[in-house]
Symmetry: C2
Subunit: 195 residues, 2 copies
DNA sequence: CGCCTGTGGCTAACTACATTAGCTTGTGTC
DNA sequence: GACACAAGCTAATGTAGTTAGCCACAGGCG
């Protein structure tokens, strides 16, 4: 192949780094091209459009999130796994705000969209984390959705400056995870009795 | 005053209705002008820019959300208030998706930004809802943040089609609110014993 | 009753940006 | 060393937000 400095992957990676700096909604083809030392139209040799680029960033972000959670929960179980995984996600989002925003904005475009397995891997990570609580199978899906909601909501509000500063956000996060953990344990404890 | 068909308020209201239909990120000055039977530049006699317009929609949305919660929780307390308020917010977001998205995207622009009191009123509504649990004052802020997180996260994921369809999202929502309610009651119960 | 002023709306023009067309040129292959 | 292909470039197009400047109507006032 001829001179190939850029690839779809390298362009996506550079774009991800860029949106982490300037925010996802400030992404522009011109700015990215400048970063890569290239003129704007050249980018179209590697990505189909700005929407395509945003989608690739989203897939990258979801993959990285699931990896971060997996790494953090490796070798842990129950409450430990929950705390570690939740923190890992929070840290990831803080450090890769733009990517995460891209991940949220993205919608699967078809049945074989690579975004789907990427999102599924994140879900699988959460599900694995919940496994230690041995929840009733009818409750698993609800617990999973709650966990997603609470984590997504918290990190979203946090990075959006949604919390006032008078009380530590770190404390609130650990308090919240503890709250969830206690509730889960209560579910587990009552399960045999209630069925 | 001369012939005044449009006002900043009527333009904002029309824009809010528009984004509820087409999505916040598809808002355009041209489309809005067409809806109002006016040419695009005429809008600038009433709002300073598209960003200004988005900001006004955000303030409107926050105000309406707080009103919806207040109305729903009127005359209720404890678990009832929580369930009613949470449902009210969820319904509002479902019916006014674009407005809510505008509210999330907005950031206060200064110390006297009307967005600030609007957001504060929403927070006050949640705080009032929690009052029935008589939480320890050191826990109130954490509980408030958790509640915001879980509700914001859930409705955001729901409207973003983030949940698979094989299990009822309604069931998950009520399950989640119950989970929170039980956890809060546990906090209340143990508070005198633990201090 | 007609002039004066102020404001809403309009047309035309400008800018920024995403995107496309078509050309050029370097690199790997034969 | 020639060929072919793909990367990058320049030039051009279309759209959307925004600004400038003009026009016309409504109300106040002599």
């Amino acid at each position: 192949m001829p001179r190939s400095r850029l690839t779809p992957e390298s362009v996506t990676e550079a774009a991800a780094a860029l949106v982490d700096e300037i925010g996802f909604d400030h992404l522009s083809m011109g700015l990215l091209a400048e970063r890569l030392g290239v003129k704007t139209p050249s980018l179209y040799k590697h990505v189909a459009s700005q929407a395509d680029l945003a989608h690739r960033i989203a897939v990258l972000a979801m993959t990285e999130v699931s990896d971060a959670i997996r790494d953090a929960t490796q070798g842990r179980a129950g409450s430990d796994a929950l705390a570690a995984g939740a923190q890992a996600m929070r840290i990831y989002v803080q450090e890769h705000l733009g990517r995460y925003a891209a991940g949220n904005a993205a919608r699967p475009a078809g049945p074989d969209d690579p975004l789907i397995p990427a999102v599924d891997r994140v879900l699988a990570s959460w599900a694995a984390m919940l496994r230690g609580y041995e929840l009733d199978s009818s409750q698993e899906i609800h617990a999973l959705r709650m966990l997603r909601s609470v984590l997504h909501g918290f990190v979203t509000l946090e990075v959006a400056d949604g919390f006032q500063i008078d009380t530590s956000v770190d404390d609130s996060f650990t308090w919240m995870i503890n709250f969830i953990d206690h509730g889960m344990q209560a579910l587990t404890a009552t399960r045999p009795a209630l069925a």
